[in-house]
Symmetry: C2
């Protein structure tokens, strides 16, 4: 599986159940949301602007997409809502399996972020992102074309302590499961 | 990482937070438990008996262990408790990374089960087990020596539909995190 195929398989509308484990105080948070992943054109102004903000040639981007989510957390009865643009920039030395992922809004902190991704031999997408005060590690894989799993870890910036471990099961909408 | 090292890293007492997603009805189940993983001697009667019940030469077993767990689920206020013996039988063709895992009590059904495991290049232990009416797929990996993640999927026996997806974050006890 290469990055283009991984993104293509992800396009669509997903119903997500997410559990976050806040490890220090053994708290469980449950989030239900709808996620929409939509392909963007390579010449979309949002894609070009994001590349430029990282001094990266937009011609090197592949399979850019927009991710939007909207849901409900059982913690603080909080509404969970957001959208971001993501742009893979394959590594010229291993363009199919490795590269940078640009994002106009991060996960752990709401600022732009560039992470490093690779695809394992068994098709797991692994993304690590260093933020100013934290580091995030994310693994996403398909169980079948209509079920995705995602594990996200938020670590202290030193990278040793795990603060939050969360797991999403995502089911494609608009198809028979 | 080979199977011996993986088992060795797992020995100890763990505090586990587990979230189960029952996908058909979007239910979240939260389980808190203590898990103890203890090495067994290769000539422990429980190990020899389990090998014999599968017609496998006990001499081919490596790193047998016992896993015990005790905790509380928020579903039905249920107590969660159990113990099982697990015996890796490496595949002679790739003894470090692949083999069968014998278990005297299964996960999805409380009967003995033999699963197939492999270790990926990035150190994830992947186990698939076929039961009479279901199939289970489990991935376990270490985030650091004191934090383990585990994703378990229970599928229909045909193997296409996912019934339950669960995620455990496990923190080693008796050390500073």
């Amino acid at each position: 599986m290469d990055i283009q195929e991984f993104v293509k398989n992800s396009i669509g509308r997903w119903r997500s159940q997410r559990s976050a484990h806040h490890l220090a105080f053994s708290h469980f948070e449950a989030v239900q949301s709808e996620i929409e992943i939509a392909a963007l054109s390579i010449d979309d102004p949002a894609v070009i602007d994001l590349c430029k903000s990282y001094d990266i040639d937009p011609q090197t981007a592949v399979s850019p997409f927009r991710m939007s989510w909207e849901g409900q957390s059982d913690w603080d009865d909080g509404e969970v809502k957001g959208t971001c643009v993501l742009v893979p920039i394959p590594d010229p030395d291993d363009a199919a399996h490795r590269g940078k992922l640009l994002r106009d809004q991060g996960y752990a902190e709401t600022i732009a972020a560039a992470g490093d991704y690779y695809l394992t031999a068994d098709g797991t997408f692994v993304l690590t992102t260093a933020y100013e005060r934290a580091a995030a590690e994310e693994k996403i894989w398909f169980v079948n074309p209509n079920v995705r799993c995602r594990v996200s870890l938020i670590k202290t910036s030193a990278g040793t302590g795990v603060v939050t471990a969360s797991f999403s099961s995502e089911i494609r909408q608009g198809v028979q499961n």
